[in-house]
């Protein structure tokens, strides 16, 4: 079965991103397909590569990057939500004259249409949030 995942909250403060990660991992390990993971609202903050959590805790951004690497996941960060909150790729960072990109590996920035498309193409869309 083909799942799409929407994540509305950032790392650490709410469990949403963790639960979505565990769901996604379990779905993949059980032979399902993940059409796309879409990060919206504060969820875009999962896409920062600047986080340095304590070494005895999980690094939410990093485990998403690793899972994406392993299963070739499509991790999409909403551009409008990301701009409000300061998540940038190379292009956005140059366009707005900011210091550098801070987007984590395997994440990409794109529009809200990617969420609607995920709803259309996937068999089930699941939303994780506060």
């Amino acid at each position: 079965m083909k799942f799409a995942i929407q994540i509305n909250e950032g790392p650490f403060t709410h469990q949403a991103a963790d639960t979505a990660y565990q769901f996604t991992k379990a779905a993949l390990e059980n032979g399902h397909e993940i059409f796309r993971v879409f990060f919206y609202h504060d969820g875009v903050n999962n896409g920062t590569m600047y986080g340095v959590p304590p070494i005895d805790d999980r690094n939410v951004s990093a485990i998403w990057s690793e899972l994406a690497e392993k299963y070739d996941l499509d991790l999409v960060v909403c551009v409008a939500a990301a701009q409000r909150r300061g998540i940038m790729d190379e292009d956005e960072s140059k366009r707005h004259g900011k210091g550098a990109a801070n987007i984590a590996p395997k994440f990409r920035i794109s529009g809200l249409g990617q969420l609607i498309e995920a709803g259309i193409e996937a068999d089930r869309l699941l939303v994780f949030g506060d």
């Binding site: 409008a80 939500a81 809200l112 609607i116 259309i120 949030g129």
Partner: protein
Amino acid sequence: MSETKKFVYMNRKAPYGTVYALESLEVVLIGAAFEQEVQLVFVDDGVYQLTKNQSTDGIGMKNFSKTYSALGDYDVNQIYIDEQSLKDRGLTMDDLQELTYEDEDDDWAEKSSMKLVNREQLAELIGNADVLLNF
């Protein structure tokens, strides 16, 4: 895209206290271009999103309440308001802005987009959805 799906947006949070109402509306507007069936449900504190006379000058935030009245132009005209949620909050339909659309099958007559529903009807709306968007 192979088929038309029914997208149901569940709006359950008040505006301004959190950003969910505003960013949900942004999804609805983008989603309207995809020619899917779209239904908006306002339940629980979501009913406050549609109150008349919102004025945000005092809190320094952008007032996006006018945007709802543009939904009809985007062919988003199935808007459901939970009756119980209004009642619990001391509100009536008179407290909400009137959302309308022009019916192209009826000589572009202006019609209301809003329908008051009870919990049984709300259950049906959820049950019949292909995609449920929650914020």
